[in-house]
Point group: C2
Chain length 355, copies 2
């Protein structure tokens, strides 16, 4: 089967890790005769913005809509404000393509040691399902009395029943499909007294349809602390846009860092292309040095293979990443080694082909 | 000097830990002839609510206003919704008394081991300054089209220049006074595009007046991860109401748990009483067993002594807590021992008197 893949390498270390990602796609074609990828690369990034005054062409989203999936490296560069780079590229893609699930595993890979003193591999293996289209990132609000002592800024968190139901429903069905039984909803209904009680109601409504599941609503402050003290009690955590953002970085931290953490921006109905990207940013401080960790990008491709229905290939890719980490001689500096980005990419790809 | 102290033991383990706190106050009177406390206890809690239909009398805030300081145990009980217990007692006190600083140390005490594998005592010693009166806990917003598929809930985050300036100014002057040079502002201006850019602007404006300080704005997701990976780089972290709430629980987790974590709700101008309370909740699951850790409450009293200008006594109390933890034989179950609440309280108080 031929898949059309839209690729946005982006800024900073984005293109460096994407190169390894593309090598992984080639390797997968070699391994599985029936799968091939038609790659279309787009140079939409902060340089493009500096030249053209926009992050992507006016019909950029229409162009992307033609692909089966999208791969993103990382976006953001010094001198270009985030409200440009993020709000004119990443967020429009997530929203236009109804990628309402942002799925982020928090799993300690073989070969890695958790920074949590008392936690082992079996303790760190859960998934965070983050709402990805509304909530706290709403663009609604503004400022009044600018520059005066009476200035105020208001930002609206907007939670719709439609948006809240679909993400919580997804989390429950994901748990069911993967044979997991514990679902935690992240809330803060004791302090945030309109949107979060609404979230809680919907969580409970949907939870009632799954009487065999163990469901809990935890306040985000306590939940963040539980990520440290009892991550072994989690299977699936479902959270709003902002809470999910915070929890997924925290999840990445407790399993060894952002260099490894992948994500999928998923449209479960497959009406639109889904997008796979590392959680890390463009890291301008190490860009151009060839030392960025490519694993987050390669693992994102493993998630992409799962999404496309090739779970065997997704599994193979992740297993191989773990083999290489466990073997331990080829590691980038962020995980305690001296290898370059391409050395680590090659090690993974060669090992996979050799299997 | 005689201080008038309003005491609200509260619910669950609140009264249990407060008993130890009151013992500590008595001990301080004994040690320092010139200090005494006039204690007024109020039974305003969820039981009071069940009897009277409100968390405190109508003139409750006026009564509290007469005290020099307030001590709170913990509030919350099964069967009473948080929007009652929290919104009718804790939040009104914080707001009416302009306790706009919520100060929460993240400090690994002597005798405690951090759950972070690679971190030692010197790595974990910073302060989180949380805005305590506005921001994400605004009570502004509501719901529309209830019960229909088109229902929405909107919650307004409200940031005023007045409120934002005063908390950030406080953080900078705290750093200056305590000889610290690194200040981090928690933001999310890349995703939340009205309120957080406003926060950033004010942080930078005030930062410019402190050219010798090292200032950084970190996005809350990355910052949460840095609490795990590089807490040793923090001196003072200043955050909005919600972000501060999350970061302080996380701060408590990396230094050994909520059983130890104190907080001060401070009105720096001393126009109104400040309130000191453990970060932990009322813990209905262990209430009545006499095994709650009293250290968060006693440490909160140490912060209260600092606030009242008796830094020597605040220091003595905290040092003694550390001595007892280091000695190690008297510990409550949450920190690996078998002692009761009052055994641990007594151990601290007797050691302090014996000094
Ligand atoms: C009870 C709750 C509203 C409160 C808060 O979030 O402020 C608590 O978590 C705290 O941190 O004091
Ligand atoms: C760039 C930023 C807006 C983004 C987010 O918060 O969604 C990033 O942190 C992420 O998690 O993908």
């Amino acid at each position: 089967k031929l898949y059309s893949v839209g690729v946005i390498p982006g800024d900073g270390i984005g293109p460096e890790v994407m190169e390894e990602g593309l090598k992984a796609l080639k390797a997968l074609e070699k391994i599985h005769g029936g799968v091939s990828f038609d790659i279309h690369s787009y140079n939409w990034n902060c340089d493009y913005y500096k030249k053209n005054g926009r992050m992507m062409p006016e019909n950029g989203l229409d162009i992307l809509a033609e692909h089966d999936v999208i791969l993103l490296g990382a976006i953001g560069a010094p001198g270009v404000p985030d409200h440009i780079s993020v709000w004119e590229l990443i967020l429009p893609i997530r929203r236009r393509f109804q990628q309402y699930v942002n799925m982020r595993p928090a799993k300690l890979l073989r070969g890695m040691v958790s920074p949590l003193r008392y936690k082992e591999h079996a303790d760190l293996d859960f998934v965070i399902v983050r709402e990805n289209t509304e909530g706290e990132y709403s663009d609604m609000g503004g400022r009044l009395h600018r520059g005066t002592p009476y200035e105020i800024a208001v930002q609206n968190n907007v939670f719709t029943r439609f948006g809240t139901e679909r993400i919580i429903r997804y989390a429950f069905s994901l748990a069911e499909e993967s044979g997991k039984s514990r679902i935690i909803g992240a809330t803060k209904s004791n302090g945030i007294n309109h949107s979060m009680p609404f979230w809680d109601e919907i969580f409970k409504e949907i939870g009632q349809r799954y009487p065999h599941m163990e469901t809990n609503l935890y306040h985000i402050d306590a939940l963040a602390a539980y990520f440290i003290s009892k991550p072994e009690t989690f299977d699936v955590v479902v959270a709003s846009n902002l809470f999910g953002d915070i929890l997924t970085d925290l999840g990445a931290a407790i399993v060894g860092g952002l260099g490894l953490a992948p994500s999928g921006n998923i449209n479960p109905e497959k009406e639109y292309p889904s997008m796979f990207e590392p959680i890390h940013g463009s890291a301008p401080d190490i860009a151009g040095k060839g030392i960025a960790n490519p694993i987050a990008q390669i693992w994102s491709i493993s998630m992409m293979m799962d999404h496309l229905g090739h779970r065997d290939l997704g599994h193979l890719l992740l297993e191989t990443i773990e083999d290489v980490l466990e073997e331990g001689s080829v590691r980038t500096p962020d995980i305690g080694g001296r290898a370059t980005t391409s050395q680590l990419g090659d090690a993974i790809i060669n090992k996979m082909i050799g299997k």
